[in-house]
Subunit: 289 residues, 4 copies
């Protein structure tokens, strides 16, 4: 479904109503756009329409500057009292992603490798960490690394991080095994945060999930990528995966096997986000794969 | 994505061209239809568009009788020299399915259980078998069973089966571990045939795949549901699944574990077909899940 | 690993100590037994040895009657103050299993089909149910069915069930979607009870796990087979499996997809139990596969 | 099952006979060894016994030098006319592994990361490659890299590689997406070679398996780790894994998704080999997990 041509992607979330697909696809068609991907979903339990349309800009007769205004005319009314229900992304506006890590390297290394391999279409202007351990990994891939120690107050550390995210015009912050809880204030200032949790939530929320899993004697473990909300480990789930374990696996084995699941799940979630394939609403996500 | 209301489902396969989605969704919208599901795919390697649109008939202003004619006006031209590129299904026209089995009961029992549980929206007017072993299973579920022995020539047995399929107006024939090869003549007369093969094709085509798998020492086995074409085990693949095995598994264990995969894979494929979610083209399928 | 010859299976759980494997395998060897399967596990976190040895009785020079006494001499001391640490099973003593169901048929039907197919080596003298719905399923497979209504007090119903389990000399009670909680008194009188829970425990314990899963927006669902203890859904886990779901799946879809996982997981757990491959200790199980 | 104490691991493959487990475990016990892991398998189809016993050397009363001679007395006769049926590994003799790669970095990077993370207990004295592309990756992890160009004859390149493997006393050569076929002569001189093939063999042996898979329209793809034998892609299979794909996946998507499977499968196989958990016989493997 990938295309190397420049495309526009429209994401829309609004009260369910008749004719949305027709009106939007017609709009694209009448302006000469060739739809390369279109998907939508109606959640009847909350009467909500969620959709995604991607089209080629090549023969489209509206420029990037003209498009939002023209689109607003037909799409804004769909939002009703909720206000503007859509957002628009152009494939040549590359999202800017920051990764916040701690001491564990597997998720960071995996994301950087995928970025270099072209799997993740993003700029990574800066890596943050409350420890210096992973500075060499960042250096290997030529990405600036900023140590944000937690020595002083957490408020200060968050303020510094926030300033860096703004300075580097970061669109998405990925917590790649950053083991600290972000404050509500931080999330209000910068809400676009994704986290990888090392259990199949809602099982084993909180600290040391592999120890919890071992103590409970489960036969599968898992990992969960989710958007971060003020309530710990309770944000909208983007992606989950599990793997089998047995009585032979110690906590160390669970941690080792879990790492493979964590990096796969996080990478999938980041990729889906960068392709503008995820819509969160309430505590849920729609993932247009 | 299910709806209990009456719906129409349009499937279309035609040369790729601009505006198909817009024109079709517009057609539905202008006649008052509420689209409940819409998906499409462009296979750029062969310049082909494949799509599926399902909408509610409740407030639609064309009757079942009027719809084909009105649709033809806008959709027929999309086929170009290939001819009519679409077909239409109404949810109140329940497909008629026949199951052809042999001696193994697991796939037959599973399909009949799912049918009774409401997972498979179909009529099953008749079960065919070249053996009498499974007559009691058919009887348990109250489905007529016809023994079609292979004692005489295969030509005669196929002719009898064909007559039964026509008499019972069967839309789809499911080979549920029917271990015979159908003749080219049969398939020309009745091409809507689905089969479950007990390996992850193209590995281990032909006879005794579990013996082949054991001899090769594989660590995964699988099953494949596919449409039947004259070339053995080479038809378009609908669904596949695998499961892990180890050196401890004998051929008997592979057969036992494989049965669970076979019945899951076949049931999924039959359900997808009955929901008109599969489009085959060349040696491939698009499955709109 | 299966053998059609008569075998003895020794299960042992005792404080970890040197030489257990040597002494036990030597005992079998010196009496002429041919070991066909042997596995063991040391849980160092609680200093416990857990083992399983299966050998052919054909050329063994001790009879079924003589064996326990001879074995006790070398194996009883291994238990120390805990008392006798072993139990012995002969393959020609077929375990007697009762199934307790409610209204849902998928697990019952699956177990009965596997029993008839030879996958579950057991006698099933009686099926219990608090509803009459599944009597025809029991009848199809020729198994006696006893309706134990919950109209009066639960105490009476449990007393009747208990009497039936004793009358039929039942070794294992399988709760195949029996949706009631068993009393502590019942479990004290009959502790060999296995249950299938329709979530990947510890997530979504309690009632309506698929509704809980849908509300949480998870991307995987699962099922858990476990031994029943007085604390609800907290007994030792035997087997778990998960399957992927998406935003398109309604609660009804989760229930449908979950059924396939439930019956697979329960069947695996029952089979493992019948092969004497499970040792529970504390809140955990060792499963010798 | 891991232990940080020094252990000895005995692997044995011989004609099946009574008392092997008893005699070997007795030998270990009588010399004061504490067995930490013991597993065996009888392949009745070829009357072969395959076993693995690992015990702690701490209180064992034979030194590393004395052990082989003492063991030979009881274990050599088990081999009969086949000759010595066993081999012995000590945990403080760290295996020496060389990795031979080409241009693709994912498997190399993954193995080096796992090595650094302590998942792979091995020395990696040298990395070979017929291209210079991955020299920086080797440098990042501080491993010597040797470019062995294929410009001249393949015979010369193989001779140079062979000399390097001998010079560095390499025990195992891992082909991590080395896309060349090794000559029979090379394999005779250095038979301990493991390869990762990017399909679930025996499907899609040979070149460009993802292109083959796409052309066939499969719904699962996979990867296979196997020991290399002169017949291409036909050696004993160690590990396999599959992942789902759909009609939306282009060849490029299959390659991308396949990379994740390849590196997981190869890493598991290398780890199992380094833990001396694999016994190959004929075209099969026993993997003691």
């Amino acid at each position: 479904m990938s295309t190397l041509k420049q495309t526009a992607t429209l994401l829309i979330s609004c009260p369910d109503q008749k004719g949305i697909v027709a009106r939007l696809s017609n709009f694209v068609f009448q302006h000469g756009g060739n739809i390369v991907d279109s998907d939508h979903h109606s959640d009847f339990s909350v009467d909500r329409f969620l959709g995604r349309i991607e089209w080629e800009m090549e023969e489209f007769d509206l420029s990037k500057a003209e498009l939002p205004g023209a689109l607003a005319e037909i799409a804004d009314p769909m939002g009703g009292p909720e206000g503007r229900p859509w957002r628009l992304h152009f494939s040549d506006d590359v999202p800017r992603v920051s990764i916040w890590c701690s001491r564990q390297d597997h998720c960071l290394l995996d994301l950087l490798w995928r970025h270099r391999a072209g799997e993740l279409r993003a700029e990574i202007p800066i890596i943050l960490s409350n420890h210096e351990d992973l500075e060499p990994v960042a250096a290997q891939f030529g990405i600036p690394f900023q140590h944000v120690p937690m020595l002083g107050s957490k408020v200060e550390a968050e303020a510094l991080s926030l300033a860096l995210l703004k300075e580097h015009r970061v669109d998405l912050l990925v917590l790649a095994k950053y083991m600290q809880v972000l404050s509500d204030d931080f999330l209000r200032s910068f809400p676009a945060v994704m986290n990888i949790h090392h259990s199949f939530l809602p099982a084993f929320a909180g600290a040391q999930p592999y120890h919890q899993a071992h103590a409970r004697g489960v036969k599968v473990i898992g990992a969960t990528a989710h958007y971060v909300t003020p309530e710990l480990d309770a944000g909208p789930i983007i992606e989950q995966e599990t793997t089998r374990v047995s009585h032979r696996d110690t906590v160390a084995d669970l941690i080792r096997k879990g790492k493979d699941v964590e990096r796969l799940v996080l990478a999938r979630a980041v990729r889906l986000h960068l392709q503008h394939r995820i819509l969160a609403y309430g505590n849920r996500t729609v993932v247009f794969e």
